[in-house]
């Protein structure tokens, strides 16, 4: 009973804090900081999608960037063609989700093992990178949108008021939307994991053979989780695309590697950890970039190796452990 009440209080605090932050932050911070944080939130949603797929579905997806990039491209192409971003929202979610479903069918119904799955998803991402890089000529266009090869689509339209293509939203209101979308996604994931589907998913992660012997279809559950994760990554791509731009680098090894590092650093098997890990590491990397003498790849590589060797469970579980341990010490070894 008590644990449940505490969890409810935690949810409410997170919700209210998030909403207050969404409206409060732009009032105090500079415009530049607001836009930068919007960007970080888009990438945090990206990290959350992998946290769900990998941390709870047990699917080692090294190609999450494929869905992120596809979402971004789908958004840009739809927004340019419709002249209005309202219908670009469902497009940016459905296109990557459909792609994830198709790819997932081959992988899960082929019963590829963990590691093979990782390599196949990684390869798909790299091939998409090459494919979009080769679309330089004017003949590569979808409707009014030129794909633009290496340069991508430089002027992606920002979000607008629904059904009014010319009323662009201000960066402040886009920031509010980004916070709300991230919160909604987080609560959506928490809800999903409490449903019957989510519990089966976790049981499959723990022991696929046992789940299968108990009569659950491992393939369908994994495919569904993978598709949902793909849609979420697409949504993250949308938020990123409308804020920055769209180019093939979204499919590059750097994005794929970064999102995995965020999840590992934040804590695999948690939802909040990867979000915080993502935002924190982005600011660390930006800070390292201003120093100028250290290569970002080198720093990321060292962080990844160090975490795998020394903190394989990530920072968030470590933090939780320290806090509960501390509380137990204060209470005098009680049972909590």
């Amino acid at each position: 009973m008590r644990a449940r009440r505490w969890r409810l209080i935690g949810f409410l605090a997170l919700l209210l804090g998030g909403v207050a932050f969404a409206f409060g932050f732009p009032a105090f911070a500079s415009l530049h900081a607001t836009i930068q944080l919007t960007n970080a939130l888009a990438l945090a949603l990206f990290a959350l999608s992998l946290a769900l797929v990998w941390g709870f579905g047990g699917i080692l997806c090294f190609g999450q960037a494929a869905f992120f990039g596809l979402g971004a491209y789908a958004y840009a192409i739809a927004a340019i063609n419709f002249g209005d971003t309202t219908f670009a929202w469902p497009t940016a979610i459905l296109v990557p989700a459909a792609f994830a479903a198709a790819l997932g069918y081959f992988m899960f119904y082929g019963r590829l093992s963990d590691v093979y799955l990782g390599v196949v998803t990684l390869t798909v991402t790299l091939i998409l990178f090459q494919l979009f890089n080769s679309t330089a000529g004017p003949e590569y266009r979808i409707g009014d949108a030129r794909l633009g090869g290496f340069n991508g689509i430089p002027s992606t339209p920002p979000l607008n008021v629904p059904f009014d293509g010319r009323a662009y939203l201000s960066p402040e209101s886009i920031f509010v939307i980004a916070v709300l979308v991230l919160l909604a996604a987080l609560f959506g994931c928490l809800w999903l994991l409490r449903t019957r589907f989510g519990r089966v998913l976790v049981s499959i992660r723990e022991n696929p053979l046992r789940a299968e012997l108990l009569g659950y279809d491992v393939r369908v559950h994994k495919l569904a989780a993978f598709t949902i994760g793909g849609g979420m990554a697409g949504l993250a791509g949308l938020l990123f695309a409308q804020n920055v731009l769209v180019n093939p680098a979204l499919f590059s090894l750097l994005y794929t590697a970064q999102v995995i590092i965020w999840v590992i650093v934040g804590g695999l098997g948690t939802l909040v950890g990867p979000i915080l890990g993502s935002i924190g590491l982005q600011y660390v990397m930006a800070w390292l970039g201003t120093l100028g003498w250290i290569n970002p790849n080198l720093a990321l590589g060292v962080i990844l190796v160090a975490f795998v060797l020394f903190v394989p469970r990530g920072l968030w579980p470590l933090l939780v452990k320290v806090v509960t341990h501390g509380r137990r010490l204060v209470r005098g070894n009680g049972t909590s």
């Binding site: 990684l122 290569n295 990321l300």
Partner: protein, 289 residues
């Protein structure tokens, strides 16, 4: 007729290139079940070895065939001792750690040499003419090299004491240890051998592709898909998967564009894995050569 001859030659050279870029990965994965995501960077380091050595005035052939595998093999052994050794049996962790190493190598080489290289290594041999068409003589050399590497590895694994000990350790490390073999040392040498082969690949490909810190990414997708499609038998699997995927790639490239050729290669591999999840040789040969 000339066109057919050229197309066949081209297919054979694509196949040979696939064998060359994936054999180092196949040795490490097939023997040790370690997925080495730093494979592309081992190739890159091989390329840089040739680049630095030729700039220092060393004969190109020596740099390519001797120095590149030697240098990268030593780096591979160092990597195994420092990082990979601690992670055996934790497949996903090794994979992540090797990814970290890959980023680390890209970062370090960029810091040392910058984003670009100034001089291009000239491709030796001229063109070979067949009727109205021509093919690079170096491509034919690569075919020869691919056959030499595969034959050499076969002899090493099948007929030498080292090969026997290695295969024994891979089949049952505990039993090998009980018989007095040190599995740790075998793993170290095998990893070094795989790295050396990747270095050799980098050296051989240096005249064909620009030597850049990020060049590994261009090979890694193809190398992985080849090794995985090949399945558990290192030599036969890699060779047969290369033959299949290389042919698909060449035909699709001829009919459309090089990029779509690569897409066709990938699609063929994914469909193949849907039908044979353990690769071409997984079902029939098991963990043989």
């Amino acid at each position: 007729m000339d066109l057919a001859a050229i197309l066949i030659l081209q297919a054979v050279s694509t196949v040979a290139t696939l064998v060359i870029i994936s054999i180092g990965l196949a040795v490490i994965f097939g023997m040790m079940r370690v997925i080495n995501l730093a494979h592309g960077e081992f190739i890159m380091l091989g390329g840089y070895t040739v680049f630095v050595a030729t700039n220092a005035g060393i004969n190109m052939w020596v740099a390519m065939l001797v120095l590149a595998p030697l240098v990268v093999g030593v780096i591979g052994i160092a990597v195994e001792r420092l990082v990979i050794r601690h992670l055996y049996g934790r497949m996903i962790d090794t994979l992540l750690a090797s990814w970290g190493l890959s980023l680390f190598f890209i970062g370090s080489i960029t810091t040392i040499f910058g984003n670009t290289t100034t001089s291009q290594i000239a491709s030796p041999f001229g063109a070979v003419r067949i009727g109205a068409y021509s093919i690079s003589g170096y491509d034919i050399f690569l075919v020869f090299m691919a056959m030499t590497i595969v034959a050499g590895l076969f002899v090493l694994m099948r007929f030498t004491k080292f090969g026997l000990l290695t295969r024994g350790t891979m089949q049952n490390a505990d039993m090998a240890a009980a018989l007095g073999v040190n599995p740790g040392r075998i793993y170290m040498v095998t990893f070094g051998l795989g790295a050396a082969l990747s270095g050799l690949a980098g050296g051989l490909l240096a005249p064909l592709s620009a030597v850049l810190p990020t060049m590994g990414a261009a090979f890694i997708a193809k190398a992985f898909i080849t090794v995985i499609s090949g399945g558990t038998a290192i030599l036969f699997g890699t060779a047969s998967a290369s033959a299949l995927l290389g042919t698909v790639n060449t035909v699709a490239t001829y009919l459309t564009t090089p990029v779509l050729g690569e897409v066709a290669l990938l699609l063929a591999a994914i469909i193949l894995l849907r039908l044979l999840p353990r690769g071409i040789t997984g079902r029939f040969l098991g963990r043989d050569l």
